[in-house]
């Protein structure tokens, strides 16, 4: 945004508060967690990916035991 387009200070503040809430708070359905430090995504954990990976490891281990 250019300086000319920038809304008055009070509006900026309320906009900041709204956007902060919309992006960082609220219900997550997909079971993914984003750890953000200084608004930088540090870790993005896809739980479905984790679960399926664990399942794969179990299968491999079981297959190995049977061989």
């Amino acid at each position: 945004m250019s300086v000319l387009e920038r809304p008055p200070l009070q509006e900026q503040v309320t906009l900041l508060e709204l956007v902060d809430r919309v992006l960082n708070k609220g219900v997550t359905l997909t079971g993914d967690i984003t750890l953000a430090v200084a608004d930088v995504d540090l870790v993005y954990v896809g739980l479905r990916v984790l679960l399926s990976s664990v399942g794969t490891l179990d299968r491999l281990r079981d297959e190995g035991a049977g061989a």
């Binding site: 956007v19 609220g26 219900v27 997550t28």
Partner: protein, 214 residues
């Protein structure tokens, strides 16, 4: 794609506004709970995300005035189709009921207190001098924060504090008590002109909708 805005209990009607990508708001039902969604393209126009984020927030805020209880959904929760969304929502159903009960009749009030960076610096000529000055400064700061936070915590049904600035917190407050919260913050701000004090709201209960326990 299905874009999700919020879950709601006792939703009277959908807000008369457009959603992300100017999409039309639609209602889905999961047992007795409503979900507000809109159809969205998987490939939004570049640069439109900022407008979409704001549109999403405005829909949630409008919903907060049209339902008994609203649980904002984080931006970016999209699903391939209605079926995928329904499956995910049903998995959360009992959680959602509990959370809706928790926020019913309440709004979120945000408080931020900061100071110019230089104001908090401590200078000293010896290590011991630094430690003593730092201790005095932090003790004073803790007392100031307690004076602000204590009464607000007592007025609120729930509180989330974050480690940002001197004090940043979200308070889940019954609608009738918003005025009392505002008065307290105003009095505090007047008593501490050296601090920057901001109080915003009433918001939908974003900070109390997720599964983190406070």
């Amino acid at each position: 794609m299905i874009h999700v805005y919020a879950f709601a209990a006792g939703l009277q009607k959908l807000p008369a506004r457009a959603g992300v990508q100017d999409g039309r708001l639609e209602k889905r039902t999961i047992a007795e709970i409503s979900a507000v969604v809109s159809r969205a393209s998987a490939h939004p126009a570049p640069g439109s995300q900022r407008d979409d984020v704001i549109a999403h927030g405005l829909v949630v805020e409008a919903l907060n005035e049209l339902a008994e209880a609203v649980l904002p959904v984080k931006f970016g929760e999209t699903f391939a189709d209605d079926e995928a969304f329904a499956v995910a929502a049903h998995e959360l159903l009992s959680d959602l009921r509990g959370r809706l009960d928790r926020v019913r009749g309440c709004v979120e009030i945000g408080v931020r207190v900061t100071a110019a960076a230089g104001d908090l610096d401590v200078t000293a000529s010896t290590g011991t001098g630094y430690m003593e000055a730092k201790l005095a400064s932090l003790t004073e700061q803790d007392a100031i924060v307690t004076a602000l936070h204590g009464p607000l915590e007592r007025l609120a049904r729930d509180t989330v504090v974050s480690s940002s600035g001197i004090h940043t917190a979200a308070y889940l407050v019954p609608r009738a008590d918003v005025g009392a919260v505002q008065d307290h913050v105003e009095r505090f701000a007047s008593a501490h002109p050296e601090l920057t004090v901001i109080c915003t709201g009433p918001w939908a209960p974003y900070s109390f909708a997720g599964d983190e326990s406070s």
